[in-house]
């Protein structure tokens, strides 16, 4: 498929090479440059960026907006926490299995939520379902004092928590790179074209014989799985999960990261997450409560005037005036409306 288009294979090769170079450099250099404190900080933000990456795919490429993405992050985190504390016999060699379980469970859960909602023709109101799922999961966890630890959360055993040092950050960057590659292949593949088709004109894609409900649900499941993977790694990194991991506010922050970084790209969400979070860390000490206010304003300005986000604005500034959030041409949208 890729080979059919002349020049594309070469471009892909170049992009892949650049990606490999960046990842290699990051793995080699970052833990050395950053102190212990910043290593940990960056690690936390990188676990968040899994959520943003998934959202970047489901919102940016498929037009399925979610305001409860951290619900799936929480599912991943709690799965790992529950398995290691409530089931005996796990050791370090089982860690990949645990993380994978969290990822798959979150993905299945996301798929199910989306499939039921779209099957019931909830349409554009799906965003309400995602908010509600996040809030209900959080309340449910708080209410389950025995099994889920209630508001006190669950502390993970020491053996699973990585010690200080750059080792975990290196693994994290590696996993992030693999996830990035998988999602990148998904959006570049013919499947990605169908996704974009659903975003731009769902009715037409359906007329072509695609099962749009299934494709949208699968995309959402993929995005939820990415969030779950982030959550599983987060649980290990911090050694503690509490109901706040389902955070409603965080879920919306994720949308801000993605929009500020740039929808319709994968680098954008990644960049947006790291930049906005570091900005938050440094500026909120200085701006205190006004930080959230500033973010709200920044976000409105970004949505209204820079809908293509950081990456889109840098690469093609003129598209800010011609396209909407997901890169759809505005002129065509207006024609449709008339």
């Amino acid at each position: 498929m890729i080979g059919l288009i002349p020049g594309l294979r070469k471009k892909l090769a170049v992009q892949g090479f650049v990606l490999a170079l960046v990842v290699g450099a990051a793995i080699a250099v970052l833990p050395l440059v950053l102190g212990r404190f910043h290593t940990e900080l960056l690690g936390t933000y990188l676990t968040y960026s899994f959520v943003a990456l998934g959202l970047g795919v489901s919102f940016g490429y498929c037009g399925v907006i979610s305001l409860g993405q951290f619900a799936f992050f929480g599912v991943g985190a709690y799965t790992v926490a529950l398995l290691v504390t409530r089931v005996a016999g796990f050791g370090l060699e089982h860690v990949p299995l645990l993380v994978l379980t969290g990822t798959i469970l979150a993905g299945l859960f996301g798929f199910l939520v989306a499939y039921v909602s779209f099957f019931l023709k909830i349409g554009s109101l799906f965003v309400l379902v995602t908010i509600t799922v996040g809030i209900l999961l959080q309340k449910f966890t708080i209410a389950q004092l025995d099994l889920l630890g209630g508001i006190n959360g669950i502390t993970l055993p020491r053996w699973i928590v990585p010690g200080p040092g750059g080792g975990f950050l290196r693994i994290l960057i590696g996993i992030l790179a693999v996830t990035f590659l998988v999602l990148w292949l998904a959006v570049r593949a013919p499947f990605g074209k169908v996704m974009a088709g659903i975003r731009d004109a769902e009715g037409r894609v359906e007329s072509l014989g695609y099962n749009t409900i299934l494709i949208k649900s699968f995309t959402f499941g993929l995005s939820a799985a990415a969030a779950g993977l982030g959550g599983a790694l987060y649980a290990m990194l911090t050694g503690f999960v509490s109901p706040s991991v389902f955070g409603f506010v965080q879920s919306f922050n994720a949308v801000i990261w993605v929009v500020v970084g740039g929808l319709g790209t994968l680098v954008g969400p990644l960049l947006g997450t790291v930049l906005v979070n570091f900005a938050q860390f440094y500026l909120s000490a200085w701006l205190l409560n006004y930080w959230t206010l500033a973010v709200g304003l920044l976000f409105i300005v970004a949505v209204l005037f820079f809908p293509r986000g950081l990456v889109g604005t840098i690469s093609r500034p003129e598209t800010n005036r011609q396209a909407d959030l997901t890169g759809r041409s505005l002129r065509r949208g207006q024609e449709k409306r008339r």
Binding site: S124, I135, V295, V303, L304, L325
Partner: protein, 284 residues
Amino acid sequence: MDSSFVLRQLFGGLTLSFILVLVALGLSVIFGLMRILNMAHGEFFILGAYVVVWITSAGGNFWVAVLAAPIALGLAGYVFQKGLLRALQRDPNVALLVTWGVGMIVRQTLQIIMGPAGLYVLSPFPGSVSVFGMQYPLYRVVMMGISAGIFVLLVFLYLRSRFGLRLRATIHNREMASAIGINVERVAATSFVMGSSLAGLAGALVSPLIPVAPLTGLTYLIKSFFIVVVGGAGHLLGTLAGGIVIGGGESVFQFFVNPVMAEMLVFFMALVIVGIRPQGLIKV
């Protein structure tokens, strides 16, 4: 479980439904007209309650505050739609995100000015009355009466006035309404102001019954959204039916399961209702 407890629970659920319906009406009309999910609507609601807090703590009368709240929020709604509505109509996603951003700013401003803790308003009628043989706070009964009165007024406006006619026509078919000379932009703007004003009024009325905190609006926003979804967007009686189903459903489920489970059940019920009747419960 004696019968007076059951009655009290049902009555409590009903009070909540009345308020939720008032909040949901604005959302419903805005969604029906423009397909915009106004994520800042909950903030209009809680600002109405804060207006009461401000006026009564400055020594003002409660009822003056209740009158002032819808006026103030109507003005706020006017400014909001004047400044942003045109930009919002570009794309539903943009509208969703921008109104959320506005809500976020309002919430944070309230937190900075008023603090995150819940504030309380003294009930203007501290006594209680006997309803069906049980003691019930007088203010709740008065509030339900006022809400019901407003609702009847709105139904009359919706079904019998010229504005109501234009509104229904625009919700039904925007292009056609525009073609026969209805100024759909103005209908949308007026409805937006009325919706905001109603949310403010609901907030003001409910202020003696709830802790008034910056985040309270959010909970009401989500519940009202489900009323809109269940009731069908842009239909007054549907919104009422949705309010009864959602508010009543929650208080009924609470007999059998814990509050969290009750909320979950209501959520599933809403989803299923949408699946069975995507056009809403009642279509007028």
